[in-house]
Amino acid sequence: MVMQPPVIEIRDLRVSYGAKSALKGISLDVRRNEVLGIIGPAQSGKTTLLRVLNRTIENTPSAKVQGTVLVDGQDISRLRDVTDLRRRIGMVAPLPVGLPISIYDNVAFAPRMAGIRSKAELDERVERCLTHAALWDEVKDRLHTLGTKLSGGQQQRLTIARALSHDPEILCLDEFSIAIDPVTTMRIEDVLKELKNSMTIILVTNLVQQARRLADRTAFILNGDLVELDDNSVVFSDHPGSRQTYDYVNGIFG
């Protein structure tokens, strides 16, 4: 395998909210076009890690970030235009958020904000993104009804379509499946397997089995520390690098 430079390099990342520290010095690389699973119990810092990546952490005034994060070799804390960074990273939050505009406008929002005006191009993007999010067939006849009128699961797929709409290089999914049914989850997982040919995917999940199914490598984060990061064949084997990983993956850990 030819070694490419990692798409994301995180070095000694520490984040604290006031006196409470959420990430305690994490270093990891994300390789181009891999699916990196991130597992760990609630409150272990997984979401914080994603919010550092697209710098939305800055909207939380109490959050303090130390350490460096490089995306494509660039220190993101030095970027002058944070919207550039956010366009490179698609972000799917755990709870679906349909914007109170039409389905079409939801998906066309990001391209329009980036200056795309051509109707043909927008149409093409909207169809492509909705198809990728396994939603196109259900909504193609009512693209101009409100995104907020969709069911929870449909709104979550709409959120995924929106995250793809600005052609990100990196797609971050934060427990995307907690609001949707298993069948839809499987359809989206199939889509992710296709998407990984064209982008890097970071999959934060509570479902250990989801990481096992989808990821190439998986990181186990516990209480703000990176316990282990290795190929799935190691992490999910009988002898991962850490006893804690084994216990968590096998549900022994309480």
Binding site: N54, T56, N59, P61, T83, D84, L85, R86, R87, G90, M91, A93, L95, V97, L99, P100, I101, F109, A110, M113, A114, L146, T148, T159, R162, A163, S165, H166
Partner: protein
């Protein structure tokens, strides 16, 4: 199985009592309102006519209409809102969407809350000092409008902030996540979803601006002034003007031998003007809310 126990009976009685008290309180609110408006209209009925609206007061304000004060009130309300609305709304957008928690924003927020509670006579003195004397505007429609604008602005800021804060943070985060700037987010998502609340706040200030006497007495209102009848541009920015609220005060207390119906007629027109504006506002709000999407 469904037998009433003492506890459920007590619960039912409490429920009935609570409902009765609430209905009673609502009636306490509605009955005086109906009586006041009804009494005003009955007393004013003999004098109300199109001529009453469109002719100047004559014979020492003992006869004629209310054209001059009516137009004066409209000028003051419109000009003061044209000044106060953009400043108030944009300041609120800054405070709610951009400003970070700091001693400065805390001080500004405190000032806004306190200014909203300042009695209007204090605004009057400020207007006299700042606009009439210091800025050399003299007693004029402009000075009075600016004073009213200073009076209404803090309330517009406060109500706009509230309307903006009612838009879920998740909407903003969804926009930021896809690379929209703060302004794009405000322009395309936050403002369209708070506009009805913002409008409500502004419209409530119309009645306040129309009804206040104190702030304009010192800064631009006059006892009597005849203007060209039927010409809506009869006042200039630097003229003094009559207003309905002041006119009502004058003919009820300062002028002897005023016909009985005249003050009532003036009151009804003042009330009617405010009600008309409020009705329009409520209509607009209903329309905008019907387009609200979550």
């Amino acid at each position: 199985m469904f037998q009433a126990t003492p506890f459920t009976q007590r619960k039912r009685r409490t429920e009935q009592l609570a409902k009765a008290i609430l209905v009673l309180m609502t009636l306490c609110l509605v009955i005086p309102l109906v009586l006041i408006v009804g009494y005003l209209v009955i007393q004013a009925a003999p004098i109300l006519s199109w001529d009453f609206l469109t002719s100047n007061p004559i014979r020492g304000m003992r006869a004629g209409g209310i054209w001059s004060p009516l137009l004066g009130t409209l000028y003051l309300v419109v000009i003061s809102l044209v000044i106060a609305t953009p400043i108030g709304v944009l300041a609120a957008v800054f405070l709610n969407e951009y400003a970070r928690e700091s001693w400065f924003t805390r001080a500004v927020n405190l000032a806004v809350v306190n200014l909203a509670g300042v009695p209007s006579i204090v605004h009057a003195l400020f207007g006299l000092g700042a606009f009439v004397l210091f800025a050399h505007l003299g007693k004029s429609i402009l000075a009075a409008s600016l004073t009213l604008a200073i009076m209404t602005m803090p309330v517009i800021i406060a109500s706009t902030k509230e309307a903006l804060a009612a838009v879920p943070l998740a909407f903003r985060e969804a926009c930021w996540n896809v690379g929209a700037t703060r302004w794009q987010t405000i322009r395309h998502v936050v403002l369209p979803n708070s506009i009805s609340g913002i409008l409500t706040g502004i419209i409530l200030q119309v009645s306040r601006a129309a009804g206040e006497t104190a702030p304009i007495m010192f800064t631009g209102a006059v006892f009597f002034k005849a203007i060209e009848e039927g010409n809506v541009f009869a006042y200039g920015l630097f003229d003094q003007c009559m207003t309905l609220s002041m006119h009502l005060f004058t003919i009820s207390t300062q002028v002897p031998d005023v016909p009985h119906a005249l003050p009532y007629g003036t009151a009804v027109v003042l009330l009617g003007t405010v009600l008309l504006v409020n009705t329009l506002a409520i209509g607009l709000r209903i329309y905008l809310r019907s387009r609200k999407k979550w």
